[in-house]
Symmetry: C2
Subunit: 171 residues, 2 copies
């Protein structure tokens, strides 16, 4: 479909976009939103081993792409349900991380498990509840998983805290 | 281009998507991200009167769609520059609002103007610095503008606060 488009700056815009030669339709490419939740039951963390690429076999808390018709909190709860078959109550917004090099914005919450029940969903090879020291730090799937866990620890037990942003520059 | 697509559930997915009959390309439609900033200089608020639809002629603080290659903070600063020709320092994350009925996620910051200088950019009919009581409450462009201003007021002067979510259900 590529020769159907011109690259041009639409009227009233200020950046080049793909514009259909036939109908003038403008292909705005937008950042994608990832929603996730650091889920705890008492002092333990819900961790999932990814059954899908990218980073298959590595560990994360439940997170994934927000769908069009859901709120960020609903999306985070859905990901927990899909990946770990667990039910949570969303607590607070923990962080908004920007990964402009891949066009992702990650919106991370803290969440409390309503019970210690969980199981591996279709996108997980394994799910477990682990203490802080048992988190597989060397085998985390993404740096944002490490960022969010450390940010969680930094404000643990506090009523109010400012939501975090990237703790380190993206190289 | 509509008859080029089937509506089907791709392998490894769980929702129907538009899939190209020829090449199998999946048209994932994602929520769009709006970034904005409640900008203040001392006790005054930076407000812009929109020169473009939707809600042309109504008032907002600087906000707009995040571009693919920028962080949420950079996007908010860019919108302030484009709409109000002002320079700000981003302070804190104020709120993440979800508008699933229009597929928007709005990420709102608080920001301090580095000087009281401003001017109307091409997307603004007028820009002004107003006190809380002078905010044109009856002529705000969107309910999220009202939400963010009220949330700002609620935590005014506080060092730490939890970022807000929607204050009322979306009907």
């Amino acid at each position: 479909m590529s020769d159907q488009f011109n690259i041009e700056i639409p009227e009233d815009d200020n950046l080049p976009r793909r514009v259909c030669k036939d109908c003038g339709w403008i292909d705005y490419v937008n950042p994608k939103i990832v929603v996730g939740a650091v889920c705890t039951f008492e002092d333990r963390f819900l961790m999932c081993r990814r059954a899908i690429e990218p980073r298959k076999g590595y560990w994360t808390f439940p997170a994934g792409f927000l769908e069009l018709d859901e709120s960020t909190e609903d999306g985070a709860r859905r990901e927990v349900r899909e990946e770990a078959c667990a039910e949570v109550e969303i607590d607070r917004l923990l962080a908004v991380y920007s990964l402009p090099h891949v066009g992702h914005i990650q919106i991370m919450y803290t969440a409390r498990m309503l019970s210690p029940d969980f199981a591996a969903g279709p996108e997980s090879l394994d799910v477990k509840l682990v203490t802080w020291d048992e988190i597989p730090w060397e085998d985390l799937a993404f740096r944002t998983v490490r960022w969010a866990l450390r940010h969680f620890d930094e404000v643990k037990g506090r009523e109010d805290f400012s939501a975090f942003s990237n703790p380190e520059p993206i190289e």
